[in-house]
Symmetry: D2
Subunit: 142 residues, 4 copies
C-alpha cells in the first residue's frame, strides 16, 4: 500500500520542493497517512509571535500532498481543489507545528484527507483541515 517510504518522501521533498528546503520535515508514515513538521521560522510568524494562518494552510496542503504521493507514487499528479480549515486556538509561540494527516478516501479521481495541527509538545488541536485533491489522468487538464 505504500509507494514511497519515509526516505523516499524526504528525498522527494528536497528534489521537487526546493523552496520548501528546511521548512518541512517528514516525521513518519502512519497507518493511514503521515505526520509532517513545520520548522517554524520568522517567515511563518504574525506580529505577536503566532504562526500565521497561511503558514498553517501551507503545512496542511503539503502534508496531504505527500500523504497521497506516499500511496500512489511520485509520478502522479495531484492538485488541491478544496480546503476547509478551522482555526481553533493560537499555536504556542516558539514551537514547531505538527500536522497529522489521515487519508479518508483515495479514489482514482479524488482523494480526501483530514489534517489535525498541534504545537510540538502540546496536546490540543490548534487547527483542523479537510482537503480534496483531484488526481488527473496524465494527459488531462481537469
Amino acid at each position: 500500500m505504500v509507494a514511497m517510504n519515509e526516505t523516499a518522501l524526504r528525498e522527494f521533498l528536497v528534489s521537487d520542493f526546493p523552496q520548501a528546503d528546511g521548512q518541512y520535515r517528514v516525521e513518519r508514515l502512519t497507518d493511514d497517512g503521515l505526520i509532517l513538521r513545520l520548522v517554524v521560522d520568522h517567515m511563518h510568524l504574525r506580529p505577536g509571535g503566532t504562526v500565521s494562518g497561511p503558514a498553517m494552510f501551507g503545512l496542511a496542503d503539503v502534508a496531504v500532498y505527500l500523504a497521497i504521493l506516499s500511496r500512489i507514487g511520485p509520478e502522479a499528479l495531484a492538485v488541491t481543489t478544496n480546503c476547509s480549515i478551522d482555526f481553533m486556538r493560537k499555536p504556542e509561540a516558539g514551537r514547531d507545528v505538527l500536522c497529522d494527516v489521515r487519508l479518508l478516501k483515495l479514489g482514482r479521481r479524488l482523494a480526501v484527507a483530514e489534517a489535525h495541527l498541534t504545537s510540538d509538545g502540546g496536546s490540543e488541536i490548534v487547527a483542523r483541515a479537510s482537503m480534496t485533491y483531484s488526481i488527473p489522468p496524465a494527459r488531462d487538464a481537469g
Copy 2:
C-alpha cells in the same frame, strides 16, 4: 464534564425534537463526543435506495448539537454557523447510518466538531463533516 448523560439526551430528543421522533437514536457518549444513529426510512432515501445528502447533513447537524448540549446542558443555546461536508462513498442500501462526533473545541462563544459517518456494520467512512456552532449568551441575537 458531562452535563447530560445518555438517558437525559434521549429524553431531550423526545421532548424538544418531536419531529425527530424515531429518526435519531443516541447510541452512546464517547470520551470526546457521542455516536448518533439515523434510523433509515424511505423519507431519507434517494432514488436507487441511497441515503440522501440532506439526510446525512441533518444527522451530522443533530449529532453535533447533542454532543455540545451533553457537555454544557440543555438550557444552552447553540446555532449552526458553518458546515463543511465531504461525501466520499455511497452509504450501503438498507442500513442505518452512524455518526461519530468528536468535539475539538468547546469555547464560550464557539464550538467546533468533526463527524464521521459510516453505514451500520461497515468500516468505511461514507461522509465526513466539520461543524461550527455559535453559543450565544442568553440575551444575544448573534
Copy 3:
C-alpha cells in the same frame, strides 16, 4: 450553452424527483445559473417556525444539481462531493426561500457553484453555500 430550458427542467423535476413534488420550483434560468424556490411547508420547519438547516442544505443541493444539468443535459451523472455552507441569519417565518446559483466552473470532471439563499421578499442573504459536484464518465464509479 443551455441544454435544458425552464420547461425541460420543470418536467425533469417532476419525472426524476417525484419525492420533491411540490417542494421545489424552478423560478428561472440566469446568465450563469438559475433560481430555485423552496415552497416552505411544515416539514421544513424547526420549532419556532424557522426553516431548518437541512432544508436549506437540500435546497442548495438540488439547485446546484439542476443548474449543472441545465448546461450539460439530463443524461449526465453528477454527484455532490463537497459542500461548505454558512448560516448567517434566520430566514423569515412563513416565507419561501429562494436559492440563486452561480456556476463558477463547469469542467469535464468537476463543477463548482456558489449559492445565495434569501427569504422571498427579503434582501439579506440568510445562508450561502459553495458546492462541488463530480461528473463521472458514464461507466466510472469515481
Copy 4:
C-alpha cells in the same frame, strides 16, 4: 458605514503588516467590500510559475480582514476562524492576482465574507473562498 477609507487602509497595511510590505495593495473599496491586489513575486510561485495555494489563501485572508476593518475601524480585533476555499483554475503565469471581497454578514460577534480571485486582466475566477472571522470583545479570548 466606512470607518477607514482607502488611504487609511494603505497606511494601516504599512504600519501594522510590515511583513506584507509591497506584497499587497489596496485597489479600492467597493459597495460591500474591497479589492486587494497580490503583487506576485517569486516567493508566491510554485514550480512552473503558478501562484501557490498558500499565497492565494493568504491574499483572501488579508483581503477579508481589511474589508472588515474598513467597516469597523482599526482598533477592532478580528481573528479567522474558518475558511473554505476552492481552487478552480491555474492563475495565469506572470500576472498579479486580484481578490474581490464581499461582506455578507457583519455581526457583533461574527463576520462572513466571500472572495473571488482572478488573474489581473483575466475574467475567469481562479479561486473562491468564504471566510468567517470572530470579532472578540476587547477583553475576551474567544
